[in-house]
């Protein structure tokens, strides 16, 4: 399963980013190989339509799951249509690592 998590930085210790569209980075994590990769979010630098740009990027990465603080209506529509599951951070989590663990334990709320 491929997860994408919005992040302020480029590794698993980085603090999470609550905005989806304007998140500077998206951390891609493969639950099978346990490999991760930091991808710059193309939406991060856009003035309008950042959410859709980020959603398109997530879809192109063939992600199964995307985790962030919130999703705008346009981004959510695109992700839903592509059957990418959206999950939200839980208030106690700080970095990407924690988010992945908590998600795998099945404790993150769905969007």
């Amino acid at each position: 399963m491929i997860l994408l998590i919005s992040s302020q930085g480029q590794n698993l210790e980085s603090p999470i980013e609550h905005r989806f569209g304007r998140s500077p980075w998206l951390i891609k994590y493969d639950t099978e190989t346990k490999e991760n990769q930091a991808l710059p979010n193309p939406g991060g630098r856009q003035s309008g339509g950042a959410g859709v740009a980020a959603a398109q990027f997530v879809i192109d990465q063939a992600a199964d799951v995307v985790i962030s603080g919130d999703f705008g209506p346009n981004a959510a529509n695109a992700l839903r249509a592509a059957d990418v599951k959206m999950y939200l951070f839980d208030g106690n989590l700080n970095n990407v690592d924690d988010v992945i663990d908590t998600f795998l334990e099945g404790k993150l709320p769905a969007f």
Partner: protein
């Protein structure tokens, strides 16, 4: 000769609409005057002039409609849309009408001719006349997305002035692309500002835009008495003409809040606005080398 004057400001709430409406009311005594409210995200000149609207024109942009029979999902359209109004999702191209600016790039770039353009309403343009005879037009954006530029373009295109008309344009606040669209092609811009550090900062941004566009301008200082002398010093140093000073005055503030035009609150301003119009003409003549 026609004359087009835009009234702009670095930020909202500086008294831009107050100046535009009172200028129009002062000039209507001797001229044919049009007022165009291009502040389409928050039009309010009508609250001071109370026009009777007689015409309503839908403001539309053309958005893409994709023919799934012809579309090969090549993704070109998604690629070229700088507003991210399109997304390729599975076996379809999704269109997000609220994000589309109607620029036509997608249609132009589709190799399969799979895109047809359909009208999408983004607002209305209302036209009417005021009791004093001002020809009034404004645009109202109905979308939540800020998409002011296309409606301003349509608004300005509708205005074919007959000879000798003075058009006063209430511009959107701030230094944005909708302001650029509004002031494009005008003869003069009146910048309304306050004598505060914030006022000066915002004013400088506007000056930069007008310098780039080579449009002549002058400044109206509103609420003089608050703030400091930095603005005056700056204007003097740059040789920027001061067209009028409106003092900070409780009577004026109260009247404006109640929807009264400045020239109604204090009729002495009729003459001041006429003088200002003369000043503007002199500045234009001078820079045209006709003085």
């Amino acid at each position: 000769m026609n004359m087009k004057i835009a009234v702009a400001s670095g930020k909202g709430g500086t008294g831009k609409t107050m100046v535009a409406t009172s200028l129009a009311l002062s000039l209507i005594e001797t001229n044919q005057v049009k007022l165009l409210d291009c502040d389409v995200e928050a039009p309010n000149a009508h609250l001071f002039l109370h026009p009777t609207f007689t015409q309503e024109i839908p403001a539309v942009i053309r958005i893409p409609k994709i023919d799934p029979e012809r579309c090969t999902l090549c993704g070109q359209c998604v690629e070229v849309c700088q507003f991210h109004a399109l997304a390729k999702v599975g076996k379809t191209i999704m269109v997000f009408p609220q994000l589309c600016h109607g620029c036509g790039s997608c249609t132009w770039n589709c190799p399969e001719g799979a895109i047809e353009e359909i009208p999408n309403p983004i607002g209305v343009i209302e036209k009417g006349t005021t009791i004093s005879g001002i020809d009034f037009t404004h645009g109202k954006l109905t979308l939540s997305e800020p998409m002011a530029t296309p409606i301003i373009r349509q608004l300005k295109k509708l205005e074919k002035s007959s000879n000798g008309t003075i058009t006063v344009i209430d511009s959107p606040p701030g230094a944005s692309c909708s302001v650029v669209e509004t002031v494009r092609g005008v003869d003069f811009v009146i910048l309304v500002t306050e004598p505060t550090p914030f006022g000066l900062h915002d004013l400088k941004q506007m000056l930069g835009i007008l310098e780039d566009m080579r449009i002549r301008y002058g400044v109206v200082i509103n609420r003089e008495g608050i703030g400091n002398a930095e603005l005056d010093r700056y204007l003097e140093q740059k040789g920027i003409p001061i067209l009028m000073r409106i003092p900070f005055d409780k009577e004026i503030a109260r009247g404006i809040a109640a929807g009264k035009p400045l020239v109604v609150i204090d009729p002495n301003y009729h003459e001041k606005f006429k003088d200002m119009y003369q000043k503007i003409n002199q500045i234009i003549d001078k820079s045209d080398g006709r003085s």
